[in-house]
Assembly symmetry: C2
Homo-oligomer: 94 residues x 2
């Protein structure tokens, strides 16, 4: 298990995921879809990534909008796991 | 489209769904599952109900916990649609 990252390392890591917002102890990104079912399909894909990584983002579904929040509760902040999962999610669009 | 319900009717309707919490302008219920995939399966079932009813609860997934919030934004409060969808969700356990 990775430890909570220092603010300096967080500033480095966040540069690689410019679509994500850096919050107090988490990172978040919202996705908007054309149809409700596309949003649900996306949530299923996120769930697969989460299970593979054994690291599960909080997911909010508001009709066609899906918001993901990553943090590592057990470490009280952001860890490498959060940034790894964010990178995997961002690579879905490739 | 049904209109926003009066407080008196809301008090009647909420009696039929005792597991739901009555909030300011919404009703909510949380569900806890033994496994992450069960939570995701449940979300897919909720999505089917939502599409059939053309009324979509806000859904929050926090690992094995799923919280649903029902309100009718276009009417600025609770309508019959919210209670109908809540009843359908509650009947899943039957």
């Amino acid at each position: 298990m990775s430890n909570a990252l220092t603010p300096e390392i967080i500033q480095e890591r966040i540069k690689k995921i410019p679509e994500w917002e850096l919050n107090e102890d988490s990172i978040s990104r919202s996705f908007e879809f054309d149809e409700y079912q596309f949003a649900i399909d996306f949530v299923n894909t996120i769930a697969e990534i989460a299970e593979e990584a054994q690291h599960h983002p909080d997911i909010s579904i508001n009709y066609t909008n899906v918001t993901l929040v990553l943090t590592t509760h057990s470490k009280g902040g952001l860890t490498e796991s959060d940034f790894e999962v964010a990178l995997r999610i961002d690579s879905l669009g490739d």
